[in-house]
Amino acid sequence: MPSLKDIKTQINSVGSTKKITSAMKMVAASKLRRSQEKAEAARPYSSRLEEMLSSLASSAASGEGIIKLLTGTGNDKNYLVVPVSADRGLCGGFNSSINKETFKLVKSLESNGKNVQIMPVGKKSRDFFNRVMKDQILESFVDLNVSTTGYESALNISNKLQDLYFDEKFDKCILVFNKFKSAISQEVTQQQLIPLDISNSEKKEQKETSSNAIYDYEPDEETILKDLLPKNVSTQIFKVLLESDAGEHGARMAAMDNATRNAGEMIDSLTLKYNRTRQAFITKELIEIISGAESV
């Protein structure tokens, strides 16, 4: 049986862990609010851009150069997978679900005879893929701090991606990220970034065709499209980074909330054990005294 002192130390250590986790929960909650506001503020830009793009996209035939971002290279051989994870842990299954999903995706693409390369964003997925498929990592981005650096960080990734794309290093680029559903739930989502997948927005477009039909374009449709496509890539990445950031804080908040609750339960059961042990000692001592007195 453990001594009273052992139990007391255990209770104390669980108590201080509980303090830390509840503090982390508070921090995550306030960060979540801030990054949610950021994600909210970024929405008008990306939705406008998407609308413009969908009204223009129909006019683009196949072409060379930048238009390739929309039409694709015509090949379907080389894939680039970009998992977006957090830089820090202690946020439940947030990072591991990204890594697992990406791993599965890479394996299934490979079994279909595709070449797959990986460009992890965030320390946790970089570390993971450094262990399991080191030779397939093309480049990695860590310490982005999207909430402080803002659009600049998305621009870096997008420029790198486009450089690689126009060097014909890959034909298709797929993002794997946590979509922010609510403060407590995230959904692992795959999104094809290059070539642009406009099938989602196409339905919307059909409704609006009547109002969208007669726009003048200045200088002309093709020039605008050439300006618009690279911007759209960076905007999409920015949106994903913000969502993932908000999701990370949400996941951490939920995980820390759980941890705090578990610590509380553990303290309760340890306290019960402590009291029982103390009572057992007292009873034992009483018996000793009484039996000692009797024998005199």
Partner: protein
């Protein structure tokens, strides 16, 4: 006089959203003045000044945009800009030092930044507005 809705949006937030009398945009092929009831246009923008006027043609605000797009219809004008500064926040001497530091480190991507910084100075010096 009629009014037109004007939205100025950057990737990070919504910067301006109100009804105004007139807007002047730096279109790629030349400046565009927009009054209520303008025909439908989608245009790309060059780096330059976006001027916002009230109904009585007084200058309400002026911004510097580093390029972007504008969507205009009779009721509304939406500008999507990559980076937006209010003209009053721009300081000529600090931009000049920025250009110098950019020129000092020879990377591929600084050219665009230098170009935009030069345009900022041009916009500050410009007397036409």
């Amino acid at each position: 006089m009629a009014k037109i809705f004007f939205d100025l949006v950057s990737p990070e937030n919504l910067i301006f959203n109100d009804q105004v009398g007139m807007i002047i945009l730096p279109g790629k092929d030349g400046d565009i003045g927009i009054l209520p009831g303008h025909s439908k246009i989608i245009s790309s923008l060059r780096p330059g000044r976006v001027m916002v006027y009230g109904e009585d043609k007084t200058l309400l605000k002026s911004f510097f945009v580093s390029g972007g797009f504008a969507e205009i219809n009779p009721e509304k004008c939406i500008v999507l800009a990559e980076s937006v500064n209010e003209m009053s926040d721009l300081d000529k001497s600090s931009i000049e030092t920025e250009i110098q530091t950019l020129e000092a480190n020879n990377k591929d991507d600084v050219e665009d930044k230098i170009y935009i910084a030069r345009k900022k100075i041009e916009a500050i010096d410009s007397k036409f507005y």
